[in-house]
Amino acid sequence: MENSSSSSIVSTESEKNSVLNLKETELRLGLPGSDFLGKKAGTGISLFGKDLKNEGNNGFSQIPLKNLVSGAKRVFSDAIDGSGKWGFSMKGGSEVDLGNGGSENTNALQSCLAGPSGKEIGNPNPAKPVEEKKNENNSTAPASKAQVVGWPPIRSFRKNTLATNLSKNNVVEEKSGLGCLYVKVSMDGAPYLRKIDLKTYCSYAELSSALEKMFSCFTIGQYASHGLPGQEHLSENCLKDLLHGSEYVLTYEDKDGDWMLVGDVPWEMFTDSCKRLRIMKGSDATGLAPRAMQKCKSQS
C-alpha cells in the first residue's frame, strides 16, 4: 500500500501493467481493480469492454470510468502534495514527471498511483483528476478538475456557486477569521515543510526575509537588497539577479494549479491567489526563468 519513493512508481506501474496490460511507459489513473483501455481515440474512455468483463481482481468488480471529461490542467505537485495519504516522500523534492511525453494515446492520463493491485484497495485517493485532451465528443472542460461526467452527483447550480465561493475564499488553514492565510512552504532538500501566514507580511521583501530565517541553512536570495524599499513587485532586474545570485527560486502554486514565479504580480494579487510555496532548486526551475513577466506553464 505504501509507495515511499518516486522510484517505486515505476515498479508499481510495471506490476500494474502486467496485471492490467497497459502501455508500459504511461502512468495511469488507477482505481482499485480498475482497468483502462482507452482504445478509441476521441471517445470517453470506456472500461466496459466485454473483454474486461471477466478480468475481475480478487472477485471485486471492475470500476468503470466512462465519460471522462477534459479536466483542467494537472499539476505535478498535486500528485506529490504533502499529504501523507499518498505515501510519497518529499525528500529531495521528488519530481515525478507525469508528463504526456511518449504517449501516442490522445487520451493521455496523468496520475499518481499507489496501491496497484486489486487487493491493496486501501488506497485512499484512487480517483485523482485526470487530464484528457479535448475531443469533439466532450463538453467544454469546466474549470474544476472534473473527472467523470456528473460525478459526484451535485447539481450544476450548486457546483457553480461553490466554485465561485472557493475561488473567492482564501485557503484558511486555521480557525476562521479575516486575519490569516496559512500556506505550506516546501523547500527542495528540506526534510519537512513549514507553514506561514501570508497575512503577516505586506511585501515580497518581508516574505523573503521570513523565509530566509525559516530555512536559514539555505540561501534564498537577496530580494530586499535589490529592490527599493516598499516596492510592491520585484523588478525584472531584481529577479534576474536573484536567479543568478542564488541557487534557489521561490515559486508558488496559484488558484488554477499553475506554478508561478514569485514576484510577477502585485503583492495583494499574490496573496489572493497563492495556495502554497515551493523553494525550488534553481537548476530545476528552467521552465520558470522569466525572460518576461509572463505566466509560466507547469512542467506537464
Binding site: S61, Q62, P64, K119, N125, K145, V148, V149, N165, V171
Partner: protein, 610 residues
C-alpha cells in the same frame, strides 16, 4: 362555465345505475353527496385508489379533482388529461430524469411545458397554480401563462431551464393575483434584474418570493416597496446582490417572515449597522427557515442568534463555515428539524450537531470541494456517527464524504433505525471500507435490515452483488434506488427488480449490468415510474426487445456519437399511456435507418454532450 365533455348522469341515481355495467350495484349515494365527500380528498394516492373502486367513484373523483400531479410528463398526454379532468386548478409536472441534474441528459431532450400550457389555456382557464420540476420553460410559455389565466396565483420552477428574465417580466407585469413566485436551482439567462420592477405599484398579494438563484441585481427600492406592500409575505429569499444593509431594511419591513433567504453575508459594516441588523433579526419572531448566507463572514453570524430560537430549517449549504462558528450558531438553534451544511464544518461541526440538535430529523452535508482540490477534507464517518448518537429522530440523510466504514454505518443505523431516506455518497467511485479494505456491502446490508421504513436509498463505494441481494431481500418499502459504480454482475440488478415490491424509480450509472439484467424486469417496469441506465452494458437490440414485448413502456436510447453501434449508452424506460412521444430529438444520422425499427415505441437519438 366550461363545457363538461362528459355530462353527469341524471340525479335520480339508483335506477340509473342500471345503465352502467350490469355487474355494478346501485350506488347508495346520490352523485352530489359522493362528490362532496370526495372533494375532501387531497392526496393523489387516495384519489387514485378511489378512482379504481367502480365507475361511479371514478367519475365522481375525476369531477372533483382540482390538483393534478404528474410525476413524468410523458407518462400521459395533455389530451388524455383534458378528457378525464375538468376542474383542475393546480398542476404539478415533472419532466426530465433526475440524472439531468448532473448533465447526463442531452440538452434538447424534451420536457417542454408549452404544449401542456396551450391545452391548459383551453381546458383549464381558471388554473391557479403551476409547479414544474426539470421542465423546459420558454419565455413564450411564461408569457402565455401570464396572459391566458386571469386567476393565476402561484408559479414554482425547480431545476427548470429555457427561460430568461424576460419571461419573469411577463409574469410580474400581468399576474395581478400572484401570491407565489418561487424559482429554485435554475440556470437561466439572467439579462437583468429589471423584472422585479415590473410588479405594478398597487400590487401587494405576494406571499412567497424566491429569486435566490438569479444573479443580477434587482432594483432595491422597487424590492423594498414591494415587500412593504405585501403584508402577507411569509417567504422571502433574495439573491447575492442584496447586501447586509439592504437586508436589514427589508427585515424591518417584513418582520412577519417565516422563511428568509439572505443575500450576501459579507460586507464591511459599521458597529452601529451590525447592531441594527441584530435588532432586525431579533424582530423576526416567526422565522422557521433560514438560508442564503452566501459568502458568509463568520463575524457577522451572531446577528442571527436572536432569530434562531424558532428555526426549524437551517440551510447553510452555501456558507463555508468552520466548526467553531458553526457550533456557536447551532447552540442558538435548539429546535432544528432540518439542517443542510457544507462539509467545511468537518467532523467537529457534526459533533456539535449531535449535541445541540436533539430534534433533528434531516441532515444534508454537501461537499465544498467536490473535485478534491484540497485533498479530501470535509467530513468522515465519525461525523456521521456523532450525529446519529445525538439525534435519534434522524430519518433523512444525504451525506457526501471521502471515506466510510461498514462498522460506522452499522452503528449509525443502530442509533437511528427510522431512516426513510438514506443517501450516502462516497465521492471516489468504488471506494472500499478504508479500514478493512472490504466492500461496503455490509454497510448497506445493515441499512436495509435495520431501517424497515426505508423509501429512498443511494448507494456508493465498492459494492458487490451482495449489497443488492440484501436490498432485494430486506428493502420492502424501497421506492427509489440510485446506484453508481457498483455491482459485479447482472444478478445485482435482478435481485432488486425481483425483491423490491414498491420500487418506483431505479437509476443506474456505470455498473456492469447488461441485457440479462435489463430484460429481467420486463413486467416490473410497468409498475414503476421509470428506469435509467447509463454507461452500463446494455445493447440496442435488448432495448428493442424490451420495447417490443412491453408495448406500454417507452424505451428511449441516447447514443454517444462515437460509441459502438450496438451499445445503448443511456437508456430511459418509463411506462406511459400516451404512447411514444413525438418530440424526441431528431436523428442526426440518416444512415442509422436500421435502428428506426418500431420507432413508434422506441426512440434512439444521439447524445450530444454539452
Amino acid at each position: 362555465m366550461q363545457t363538461d365533455p362528459n355530462p353527469k348522469k341524471s340525479k335520480d341515481s339508483p335506477s340509473n345505475s342500471a345503465n352502467t355495467e350490469s355487474t355494478q350495484l346501485p350506488s347508495p349515494f346520490p352523485d352530489e353527496v359522493l362528490e362532496k365527500v370526495l372533494s375532501f380528498l387531497n392526496s393523489d394516492k387516495d384519489r387514485s385508489s378511489v378512482s379504481l373502486v367502480c365507475k361511479d367513484w371514478y367519475n365522481a373523483e375525476r369531477w372533483t379533482r382540482t390538483k393534478l400531479f404528474i410525476g413524468n410528463c410523458y407518462s400521459v398526454s395533455p389530451e388524455i388529461v383534458a378528457r378525464r379532468f375538468s376542474k383542475i386548478k393546480s398542476v404539478t409536472l415533472k419532466g426530465k430524469p433526475r440524472f439531468s441534474d448532473f448533465n447526463l441528459v442531452p440538452q434538447n431532450w424534451g420536457a417542454d411545458v408549452h404544449y401542456w400550457l396551450t391545452m391548459f389555456a383551453n381546458v383549464y382557464p381558471f388554473l391557479e397554480e403551476l409547479r414544474l420540476k426539470r421542465m423546459t420553460v420558454s419565455d413564450e410559455s411564461l408569457e402565455l401563462l401570464a396572459t391566458a389565466f386571469p386567476g393565476f396565483r402561484a408559479l414554482s420552477l425547480m431545476s427548470c431551464d429555457g427561460f430568461s428574465t424576460d419571461g419573469l417580466k411577463a409574469i410580474a407585469t400581468h399576474c395581478r393575483n400572484l401570491t407565489e413566485l418561487d424559482i429554485q436551482d435554475t440556470d437561466i439567462d439572467d439579462f437583468s434584474g429589471g423584472w422585479l420592477s415590473c410588479f405594478p405599484e398597487n400590487f401587494g398579494s405576494l406571499e412567497v418570493l424566491n429569486f435566490a438563484s438569479l444573479d443580477s441585481e434587482v432594483n432595491f427600492d422597487a424590492l423594498e416597496r414591494l415587500v412593504s406592500r405585501c403584508k402577507s409575505l411569509r417567504v422571502l429569499k433574495v439573491n447575492k446582490s442584496i447586501t447586509l444593509d439592504q437586508l436589514q431594511r427589508l427585515l424591518l419591513r417584513a418582520p412577519q417572515l417565516m422563511e428568509l433567504g439572505t443575500g450576501s453575508f459579507q460586507e464591511d459594516l459599521l458597529p452601529g449597522q451590525i447592531g441594527d441588523l441584530g435588532n432586525a433579526f431579533g424582530n423576526c419572531k416567526n422565522l422557521q427557515t433560514l438560508s442564503g448566507l452566501w459568502e458568509v463572514t463568520s463575524i457577522y453570524l451572531p446577528v442571527l442568534y436572536a432569530a434562531c430560537a424558532s428555526l426549524t430549517f437551517l440551510n447553510l449549504s452555501y456558507a463555508a463555515l468552520r466548526s467553531v462558528e458553526f457550533g456557536n450558531l447551532l447552540a442558538h438553534c435548539p429546535n432544528l428539524r432540518r439542517l443542510w451544511v457544507l462539509d467545511t464544518v468537518e467532523d467537529k461541526g457534526l459533533e456539535a450537531v449531535g449535541s445541540s440538535c436533539p430534534l433533528l430529523e434531516e441532515l444534508r452535508v454537501f461537499p465544498a470541494d467536490p473535485y478534491d482540490q484540497h485533498l479530501h477534507r470535509g467530513v468522515t464517518e465519525s461525523g456521521f456517527v456523532a450525529v446519529s448518537r445525538g439525534c435519534s429522530k434522524l430519518h433523512y440523510v444525504l451525506y457526501f464524504c471521502w471515506q466510510m466504514t461498514n462498522a460506522a454505518v452499522a452503528t449509525i443505523v443502530q442509533n437511528c433505525p427510522n431512516f426513510t431516506h438514506f443517501r450516502l455518497c462516497i465521492m471516489n467511485p468504488g471506494r472500499p471500507d478504508y479500514l478493512t479494505n472490504e466492500p461496503m456491502d455490509e454497510a448497506f446490508g445493515a441499512v436495509v435490515k435495520t431501517c424497515t421504513k426505508l423509501q429512498r436509498l443511494s448507494v456508493s463505494g465498492l459494492l458487490t452483488d451482495l449489497t443488492f441481494e440484501y436490498i432485494g431481500k430486506y428493502a420492502k418499502n424501497l421506492e427509489t434506488l440510485s446506484v453508481a459504480f457498483a455491482g459485479s454482475s447482472d444478478r445485482a440488478m435482478q435481485f432488486v427488480l425481483e425483491g423490491c415490491p414498491k420500487l418506483r424509480k431505479l437509476e443506474i450509472r456505470d455498473c456492469p449490468f447488461g441485457n440479462a439484467a435489463l430484460l429481467s424486469g420486463l413486467e416490473k417496469y410497468e409498475t414503476m415510474r421509470s428506469l435509467w441506465m447509463s454507461s452500463c452494458n446494455v445493447t440496442i437490440n435488448a432495448c428493442r426487445r424490451l420495447a417490443r414485448e412491453m408495448p406500454r413502456l417507452n424505451v428511449e436510447v441516447m447514443k454517444d456519437k462515437e460509441s459502438d453501434d450496438s451499445q445503448a449508452d443511456k437508456v430511459y424506460v418509463y411506462r406511459s399511456v400516451a404512447g411514444p412521444r413525438k418530440d424526441a430529438p431528431p436523428f442526426f444520422d440518416q444512415k442509422r435507418s436500421n435502428i428506426q425499427w418500431n420507432v413508434h415505441q422506441f426512440a434512439v437519438y444521439p447524445f450530444m454532450h454539452v
